[in-house]
């Protein structure tokens, strides 16, 4: 693609390292990687999961989980990197998707095998609560995920954006919201499994849980959705709509003065982001086989922002790479040195925040900026970049 259609949010790319990390080529590389992964899973799936070719079902499942996390990071990047609104409560939408997926699986399992979910036995209930109606149908569950996450996001976003709550205030309120949701879900009488959550899924689309084929299928689905989202968002963000969103991030007042209704602009990005996060949750839960209120803990929601910050805000590839990098590192350390992980993560965050304001995707540009300073002096371009970075937050 030409320079006119640089990745949304990124400034015109400078040569060299930039291209490899965050520039135009970065997008292609990541897209190609995801597509290649998807193709490999689809073509060799059964064999891969079977083990002889070296990829154990555990790893296939891991790839699927990473894809779900990457989708979640994409969702947050959309609202934070592109629209400049930080949400520290995206775990809420992730959990909405996850809970509805779990409800669908339990109902589906009940319809197939007649086994009553654990949490209902625990509460001594003989029937599903009324709001579980119809969830054994997958299309209905999918519709519900979109509707519920979209509605929650719309209501909350409408009141917030209309009264111009933004910046730190908005971040704090979203965190309070996810905390409230967690407190509610910890109660056992809400019909969502309480603090034990929901688990014990037996069948998905008629396939028994835990079978190699299903693992491969779920991973392939996650990769496919991730690929679709990546391409779709790329298309959306390089178009007119994406430019408006960026303009709104950089100077909302000016955009409003020009006659654009920024409320609806922000609201649409916000809702799209929420729905994407919910879809990510829907993909995630069947792969881990459990959902509980810990998904709603404020810490997890902050961690999503950390993935995006480390990978690079405002770059679709940055969000994907950040989520995959941090989570892969976490999975890798989980067995080797779990007590080391928090120290590594906190060190990583501090380093990235201090040295690479826009994450790894910007590494090349930061390095060339150092070069600018030493050699050619400040160009107008680097000045503009500095200004934007300082204002953008």
């Amino acid at each position: 693609m030409s320079a006119a259609t640089t990745p949304a949010g990124a400034l015109p790319a400078s040569p060299g390292l930039v291209r490899r990390f965050g520039g135009d080529g970065g997008f292609r590389t990541v897209t190609a990687l995801v597509a290649a992964g998807l193709a490999a899973i689809l073509v060799f799936g059964g064999a891969l999961a079977g083990g002889p070719l070296g990829l154990s079902p555990y790893l296939v499942n891991l790839v699927g989980q990473l894809a779900a996390f990457a989708l979640l990071a994409l969702a947050l990047d959309l609202i934070w990197g592109f629209a400049g609104i930080l949400s520290l409560g995206h775990g809420l939408y992730f959990a909405i998707g996850g809970y509805i997926a779990a409800m669908h699986l339990l109902k589906h399992g009940f319809a197939v095998s007649g086994v009553v979910p654990d949490f209902m036995q625990f509460m001594g209930w003989s029937e599903f609560p009324a709001f579980w109606w119809g969830l054994e149908s997958f299309p209905y569950a999918l519709l519900l995920v979109v509707l519920v996450s979209g509605t929650v996001a719309f209501l909350f976003g409408y009141v917030s954006f209309r009264s111009k709550v933004g910046g730190v205030y908005f971040a704090i309120i979203t965190q309070a919201l996810v905390y409230v949701a967690m407190l509610l879900m910890f109660r056992n009488d809400t019909g969502f499994g309480g603090n034990n959550g929901m688990t014990g899924f037996s069948v998905i689309f008629g396939f028994p849980v835990g079978s190699a084929g299903l693992t491969v299928g779920l991973t392939a689905a996650s990769l496919a959705v991730l690929l679709t989202a990546l391409l779709g968002l790329r298309w959306l963000m390089t178009g007119r709509y994406g430019r408006l969103v960026l303009a709104c991030r950089d100077d909302e007042v000016r955009l409003r003065t020009l006659g654009y209704r920024t409320l609806w602009l922000k609201l649409s990005v916000w809702c799209l982001s929420a729905v994407l996060a919910a879809v990510a949750g829907m993909l995630y839960v069947p792969q881990v086989g459990i959902i509980n209120p810990r998904l709603l803990s404020p810490e997890l929601s902050i961690e999503i922002a950390v993935w995006v910050a480390i990978g690079g805000r405002g770059y679709l590839t940055g969000a994907v790479l950040g989520a995959i990098f941090v989570n892969a590192l976490k999975f890798w350390l989980a067995t080797r040195a779990p007590e080391l992980w928090p120290f590594i993560l906190s060190g990583l965050v501090v380093l990235v925040v201090l040295l690479l304001p826009n994450g790894f995707s910007d590494a090349g540009r930061e390095i060339s900026r150092l070069g600018d300073r030493r050699g050619r002096g400040r160009t107008l371009e680097s000045l503009r970049r500095t200004l934007l970075r300082e204002r953008g937050a």
Binding site: L88, S163, V165, V168, A171, I172, Q175, I302, A309, S346
Partner: protein, 549 residues
């Protein structure tokens, strides 16, 4: 007015009660005076079948008030023997059999056991009376605390069967004030159903003098009393007493809700104050604030351990000794964090959120690795245990009082620093207009650093205040941080007044909702209310003057 005033003291009420009991006792005593105990008659009554036995027991109970200490001891022995089925009836007096030997019940002389003695039978009715008599005797003769407790418990089942005179005498002999109060209460309950109308009325007045939920309940049962329908004086007294004490009970429940709310608010306030200073100055939310609270508690723990090893005599005062240490340690740590991380991020507040979150993650795990995840064991000093009853059911507990007093002290300290010192002037100036302050030569960067230190030190003090009343573990800070945010956001940008009013409001609303829906729901409702409020006034209760950004 006087009538109202003397209700306020529990002591005054207790004295009044005792006086009522004493008065009615004295009035009764005059009638049954001087009847020295008829020992043979008592034993004969016990041996004379169901009727005479009941009479003898009732008579014995009546005569207790005037009986000599020797008579009381003698009767206690006889009744104990009766209860233990060791009393045998022979002519002319009874016998007490102990391990083969026999003693004459009346004279105490050793006699030879007779051929066929008869054991007096206790029926169900007389068993209750005997228990009462035995308990009364224990109260009058025994010094053994547990058996006195048992006796009191027994008496409280049927206090109306015991003559007021006995209570009067037992009150005089009470070992502790708690016991005296218990006996006095029993005597009032007994007097409530006494056949003597003036004594009843006096007892009702006595109950109304110490209004709490229990006495109110007791008064309300009097409405079912037959006298309530017939005797207008009785009815008026009962109605007045109920109206009176229900007022005090209501007042005391309002007071205790307010008190709980204020104590909750003071914890919130101390936790949020440091956050408010930092947020007001830099527009930066310090996500590691909760961990500074946690570190404050851990520093207090270290001081406690230090005091324990250096000067064990001062262990009760470790909280006070720890104040400067805690403040300095957390303030220095805050300055360190500011100097290494936060200062690079002033133009990117949202990145500060992430950076301080990383700091909090680091601190939590550092503490976890160093100290473990267990709750720390704190000595509870005497001034944070127990409490006293102020009015009705309203108990002023010392641990909550400690939190309130500590919060007030911290408020005074913060107010002094911000309003009366050069640093405070600088902080306020930079808060109002950073650029202008810089232009007139205020070292804004240094002010930032010191303010960050001040905010962190205040958070440390919050940890100190929480140490004796809260679970102290590496994760304790995370429980506070969200509510502290909400206080700050609700209060508006960084004013002490806003923080104070916001925490008071949140504390009160929380405590008011809690009994209706439970603690979790209260928290949920309060947070949702705040979220809704922010939509309405995005800059909080007291927005900083000037244009909105």
């Amino acid at each position: 007015m006087q009538k109202f005033l003397d209700r306020w003291g529990r002591l005054a009420a207790a004295v009044f009660l005792i006086a009522v009991a004493g008065f009615s006792g004295a009035a009764r005593a005059q009638g049954t005076d001087a009847a020295a105990l008829d020992r043979p008659g008592f034993v004969a009554g016990l041996c004379g079948g169901a009727g005479p036995m009941a009479q003898a027991i009732a008579g014995g109970l009546e005569s207790l008030a005037a009986a000599s200490p020797e008579d009381v001891t003698w009767m206690a022995g006889i009744v104990a023997a009766l209860g233990a089925r060791q009393l045998r009836c022979v002519e002319p007096g009874g016998l007490i059999l102990t391990a083969g030997a026999a003693t004459d019940a009346v004279t105490g002389a050793t006699v030879s056991p007779p051929g066929s003695p008869r054991t007096p039978v206790l029926n169900l009715r007389s068993r209750g009376a005997v228990e009462n008599l035995e308990a009364a005797l224990t109260l009058l003769s025994s010094r053994d605390a547990p058996s006195r407790q048992r006796a009191l418990a027994l008496l409280s089942r049927r206090p109306d069967a015991v003559p007021p005179t006995v209570f009067a005498r037992a009150t005089d002999l009470a070992a502790t004030t708690a016991e005296r109060d218990a006996i006095a209460e029993l005597s009032v309950i007994a007097a409530l159903s006494s056949p003597d109308m003036p004594a009843r009325l006096a007892a009702i007045a006595g109950l109304a003098a110490e209004p709490n939920r229990r006495t109110l309940l007791r008064l309300e049962t009097l409405r079912e009393d037959p006298a309530y329908g017939t005797d207008t004086a009785f009815r008026d007294t009962v109605d007045a007493a109920i109206a009176d004490s229900s007022f005090w009970v209501k007042l005391s429940s309002v007071l205790s809700v307010a008190y709980n709310g204020i104590s909750y608010a003071s914890i919130l306030f101390i936790a949020a104050l440091g956050l408010a200073v930092i947020f007001g100055l830099m527009g930066v939310i310090n996500l590691a604030q909760g961990e500074f609270i946690m570190l404050g508690a851990y520093t207090a723990f270290m001081v406690q351990e230090g005091v324990r090893s250096v000067a064990p005599g001062l262990i009760d005062f470790y909280l006070i000794i720890a104040v400067p240490f805690v403040f300095l340690v957390t303030a220095l740590l805050g300055i360190l964090v500011e100097a290494t991380i936060v200062r690079h991020l002033y133009r990117r507040p949202l990145m500060t959120l992430l950076a301080t979150w990383a700091v909090s993650l680091f601190l939590i795990n550092l503490v976890r690795v160093t100290f473990g995840t267990q709750n720390l064991q704190f000595v509870t000093p005497s001034y944070v245990t127990g409490g006293f009853t102020l009015v009705g059911d309203f108990i002023v507990t010392y641990n909550r009082l400690f939190a309130i007093v500590f919060a007030a002290a911290v408020l005074a300290l913060a107010w002094f620093v911000l309003q009366r010192t050069g640093l405070g002037l600088n902080i306020r100036t930079v808060t109002q207009n950073r650029d202008m302050a810089g232009c007139i030569g205020i070292p804004t960067r240094r002010v930032d650093r010191l303010a960050f230190g001040l905010g962190s030190g205040l958070a440390g003090l919050a940890g100190l205040a929480l140490a004796p009343i809260y679970n102290v573990n590496p994760l304790m800070g995370t429980n506070f941080i969200i509510e502290s945010f909400m206080v700050v956001v609700l209060g508006g940008v960084g004013t002490i007044g806003g923080t104070l009013i916001a925490s008071l409001g949140i504390g009160q609303i929380n405590v008011m909702i809690e009994p209706l829906y439970g603690a979790v729901a209260a928290k949920v409702i309060v947070l949702l209310l705040i979220i809704a409020f922010i939509q309405w006034r995005p800059e909080g209760l007291f927005p900083a003057p000037g244009r909105r950004k």
